[in-house]
């Protein structure tokens, strides 16, 4: 039987890991390389690294101050981790599980660069919204199995509806999330990473209504993200939201053995997971 996947998401801003709340507040959590071996040994099923650097520049001083203080990576030169592709390359050398990289992808060459540096899949968001043909081009060239389309959803107060947002949650596209996900699948995406901006970092649980609607309307795997505060939320994502896989960020950052304990809980409530 196919196992239900549990996927930690790591957010990189200016080369360091951060936690996020409502897509707006970012708190430093550590060095981007130190986590990978821990997550792998805890039997995380995949890892997703999202680059949320928005000013274009990497703060190598900040990068160094974090990496320099992490005992396990004193040997890593700042020049090695000065851009996202370098981080992915260093991570992939230790990552014996599937690795997805995303954030700021605008061209097929951007994808090629990340895959060449060891990513197994890439996650596309804003570019897909600007040019939905890009999904098709990317999946034809690299195979749909490595094209994940990330969909950020937020309640728009003005329209009174949930809408798809672009540019890291800054701009509404006025698109209906269900229709957009259907379109994404039709154009050849391999998976959908469905994220709720309203729930991001709140610990209130997934947007189960949205998740279920999307899962029922597409025939590709849907990965739930945004809002996990307890292990019960993971169970709800699968059993109520009908997601194929559950992802979370913050809950894994500050708890020892978090992935192992999350999986033990999932197994105890009848979800088939890899332990």
């Amino acid at each position: 039987m196919l196992k239900t996947r549990l996927i930690p998401v790591l957010l990189l801003k200016n080369g360091v890991l951060v936690r996020s709340r409502l897509f707006s507040f970012h708190q430093l959590t550590g060095d981007p390389l130190g986590q990978v071996e821990r997550f792998t040994s805890w039997k995380a099923d995949e890892l997703i690294y999202l680059n949320i650097t928005r000013d274009g520049g990497y703060d190598s001083m900040a990068t160094m101050s974090v990496i320099g203080s992490a005992t396990s990576h004193k040997d890593v030169l700042s020049s090695k981790v000065n851009n996202f592709a370098d981080v992915i390359r260093c991570v992939s050398e230790k990552c014996m599980i599937p690795l997805t990289a995303g954030g700021g992808i605008r061209t097929l060459d951007d994808i090629q660069m990340l895959l060449k540096n060891g990513a197994d899949k890439v996650s596309i968001n804003t570019k897909a919204l600007d040019d939905s043909d890009f999904i098709k081009k990317a999946s034809q060239r690299f195979g749909s199995q490595c094209i994940v389309v990330s969909v950020d959803v937020k309640f728009n107060v003005d329209s009174g509806k949930k809408e798809v947002y672009a540019h890291f949650g800054k701009e509404s596209t006025s698109r209906d999330p269900i229709e957009w996900c259907f379109e994404v699948a039709r154009r050849g995406a391999g998976e959908i990473l469905l994220n709720s901006i309203d729930r991001d970092g709140t610990g209130e649980g997934y947007d189960l209504e949205l998740l279920r609607k999307v899962s029922e309307c597409v025939n590709i795997p849907v990965i739930a993200l945004g809002g996990v505060g307890t292990f019960e939320h993971l169970m709800e994502g699968i059993k109520i939201g009908k997601a194929s896989a559950v992802a979370a960020a913050n809950i894994f950052h500050f708890t020892e053995l978090s992935v192992i304990n999350a999986k033990k809980y999932m197994k105890s409530v009848g979800i088939d997971v890899r332990i």
Binding site: K3, R5, E93, C95, P98, K116, P221
Partner: protein, 206 residues
């Protein structure tokens, strides 16, 4: 002689992660499409993701078909096909048309049938595999292994005796094949953590 692995570079898929996994095991590895490198290697790996037709076209464009046939069929060099790489070992592939394969193992590649199961395609994720005991590629597993799969097509070999492992996704799917010096995995051992590394070790020690 210590093993020297050549990962066949034919412009398809992420060969880097296969190399990472072998380096993790401390095995000397090159990525190449060069005839001499392929001849000098003790073990060959044919990786790959993508479609059957593209895979064969890329092998032909790089003049790799005859070299592979000579090394694998005539010289009996050990080869491991991963995912599409294994599928190319079949006689024929039926993905977006009909294509001739390398014909190392008689059989065909067809799409996973989801009409009964209503499951999603591709088959993505970790699935447990029932292994056949008397094979080299699957030896010494203490418990039923779990591997990472990403595919929509699967291998139907003519001879059941080549099957070394099976998983279930709506119906039975051949997860591992073994025929003399020829080995194949439908899953990605390089992305299957400890169980995947175990398969790679079995191949290297074969």
């Amino acid at each position: 002689m210590s093993p020297q692995v050549c990962i066949i570079d034919y412009g398809i898929g992420n060969v880097g992660s296969v190399k990472n996994a072998l380096q993790f095991l401390g095995v000397s590895t090159v990525i190449s499409s060069d005839k001499k490198m392929i001849q000098e290697a003790t073990h060959l790996i044919l990786p790959g993701v993508g479609s059957f037709g593209d895979g064969m076209r890329n092998l032909k464009e790089r003049n790799l078909v005859d070299i592979l046939k000579e090394e694998v069929i005539v010289n009996k060099k050990k080869i491991l096909g991963i995912c599409l790489g294994m599928q190319l070992f079949a006689s024929h592939g039926f993905e977006h048309g009909e294509f001739e394969g390398l014909d190392f193992i008689s059989g065909k590649i067809i799409q996973i049938d989801i009409t009964q199961s209503k499951l999603r395609l591709p088959h993505i994720g970790w699935n447990n595999v029932t292994v056949v005991d008397d094979k080299v590629i699957t030896k010494s597993f203490e418990q039923e292994p779990i591997f990472y799969f990403v595919h929509s097509f699967h291998f139907i070999p003519e001879e059941r005796s080549v099957v070394a492992g099976i998983c279930t996704y709506g119906h039975d799917i051949v997860a591992l094949v073994e025929s003399g010096n020829i080995f194949g995995t439908q899953f990605h051992p390089e992305k299957s953590h400890v169980d995947g590394l175990h398969v790679l070790k079995n191949f290297i020690n074969a």
